[in-house]
């Protein structure tokens, strides 16, 4: 897999450098543009790691909507950042401590890309890929027998495993994810809508 490794390393290097540049940029509009570039690069990283859905979302949301929102906010707040002193030591100590704790945890982790790690070889993810999960019979006797004796529950209707996970197996999470978005919209109306236009 040398090609994967090479592309991955180059992309990760670019992402990291863009992230540092976005944080360090004095001009907030510049920082916003760097954030947008950062999100696009991150989308590439995820495409390279075979998480197409996440890459798509990051490209649409991180590079698109977030940038629009940031620029919209900058129109109101101005794009100059006040100069600050070089290093904020308490923050640096907190950051280094957090990083140390996180790195301590990575030492015992399964190898990156391991198909036999506990997460990847678990029956849960295997079940999601084979789409061979049963339903629990309920009090009224529904689901007492399977629609098919073996194999794919969806009869091939849902080839995208991720979609099956987010809107069927774990639809409850997704429902509340949509509610989070609803709440964000309501908060924007609460905070920013002008008085006469309120619904």
């Amino acid at each position: 897999m040398p090609d994967f490794l090479l592309i991955n390393l180059i992309l990760l290097l670019m992402v990291t450098l863009t992230g540092i540049a976005a944080v360090r940029a004095r001009n907030l509009l510049g920082a916003t543009m760097l954030m947008s570039i950062y999100s696009f690069l991150m989308a590439l990283v995820w495409t390279n790691m075979d998480s197409i859905d996440v890459a798509f979302t990051e490209a649409a949301v991180g590079a698109g909507v977030s940038t629009v929102l940031l620029i919209g906010a900058l129109v109101h707040v101005g794009s100059e950042e006040k100069p600050t002193k070089s290093i904020h030591w308490p923050a640096m100590i907190a950051t280094v401590a957090t990083a140390a704790a996180l790195l301590y945890g990575t030492v015992d982790m399964p190898r990156f890309g391991d198909a036999h790690s506990p997460a990847n070889a678990n029956p849960v993810s295997v079940g999601y890929i084979q789409q061979d999960v049963d339903k629990v019979p309920d009090a009224s006797g529904h689901h007492a027998q399977r629609p098919r004796p073996h194999g794919d529950y969806f009869h091939g209707h849902v080839p995208n495993f991720v979609t099956a996970v987010i809107v069927s197996y774990r639809a409850y999470d997704t429902m509340y994810e949509t509610t989070v978005i609803f709440l964000a919209g309501m908060s924007m109306i609460l905070f920013l809508r002008r008085r006469k236009d309120a619904p």
């Binding site: 399964p110 999601y128 629990v136 009090a139 429902m175």
Partner: protein
Amino acid sequence: MIRDNLPVLLIVIPLLAGLVAPFMRRGTAAWAWVALVSWLVLAAAVALLQQVLAAPDPIRYPMGSWKAPWSIELRVDALNGFVALIVSSIGAIVTFAARASVEREISADRQHIFWGVWMLCIGGLLGITLTGDAFNVYVMLEIASISMYALIAMGRDRDRRALPATINYVMLGSIGACFILLGIGYLYMVTGTLNMVDMAERLQALQARWAAGDLAYRRTVLAGYGFLMAGFAIKLALFPLHGWMPNAYTYAPSAVSALLSATATKVGAYIAFRFMFTILGTTFCFRTMRSGEVLVVCGVLATLAGSYFAIRQNNVKRLLAYSSVGQIGYIAIGLGLGNAAGLQGSIIHLFNHAMMKSGLFLAVAAVVLRTGGADLRNLRGIGRRMPLTAAAILAGGLALIGMPFTAGFVSKWYLVAGALQQNAFVPALAVIGGSLLAAVYVWRLVETAYVQDPQPGTDVGREPLSIVLPAWLLIGAAIYVGVDANMTSALSEAAVRALGVLP
């Protein structure tokens, strides 16, 4: 059919109601709708708790009927059911009381949206309480947090300082949520499942391997646990990480302070209980990680420092917020002791503190409504002008101190008993010392209300009974469980049994 679906009804009813409420166009209509629904939710919570106590095993509800580790399931045992009862009863009573206060403090054209967000906040808190899936905890936490940000920021109609208070909470709360997500990720990485029961079984198997000398994935689990607890400590406002709380509760609308002080931190405490006892297990938390000692130290410091800071405040809402920091210290002490009596004290205190604190905040909301502010000077002469309100503050204050025949006494009794069982004298002394400090700040409130003369030239008018009577309902409940502790001690015993500490 309703009996089989009670757990999900408890979550879906607030969701649907909260989605509809913003489109009622008038604040009062939205309030009436939300108040009605919150009583319905309370009824469902009571029925669910009865069902749980009658059933031998926890009630499990797989979403979408998918088999358990693949689906998200709700899992309700005595502890869940009890916390859901706390959240929904506070939600019902405070919603009922909040109308006058909200109409005064929030501009009229935003109230209908405010009530929708309010309902979703209650729904999110119930969602955290009932879920049996680790990642779902994070999603529900975000529902509750984002609605809390919106609710707290609505205080800016009265005081612009609500805005910086909220943005601080947004930053700290988001970092806390990220820590929780990191912790869940570390645990997912070594177990491969997100279902709490499944995760617990796999972690037990892993711990058996460690005991046999094979230290596979050990450091990953240790780091993951550390991040989870750090995240919960932020959400719970445990002492060194309580920074967001005083300002948020001070500048939030009074009704919001009453709701959040009683529910948000309690749910944070519950989820720490759940992860420590159900998922990782007592051996891991108390032997391998020594988190008992850490929690007791934080709890002792919180009790003393919180109460000390409370004494120095001149704003009643801020005083009560620091008092909450101290009271959360008691919960942490009981959790850190880890024996049956300590845990029981902790769980009883969840209930007691919710009742007392939201009762007190409601009484303060009545004062704000009539005098226009929550400073200590607004309290002057309240004893004569608003006798019921002042009496509510007095009774709630006595319960906070932990006088005999009030709720605080029962939980502190259990906590001291739990500490003495382990020959831990420092926490026992801290519980008593915290009560003494509480007596000082409660005395400041009572002295201002009853002894000092009212500010001349101000007329407060009639007491707002729509707020004061619900406040008395909450404080009355706090006093009732102090006199007759059978209900709470039986429930907490069942809850401790569900945690697996008692046989």
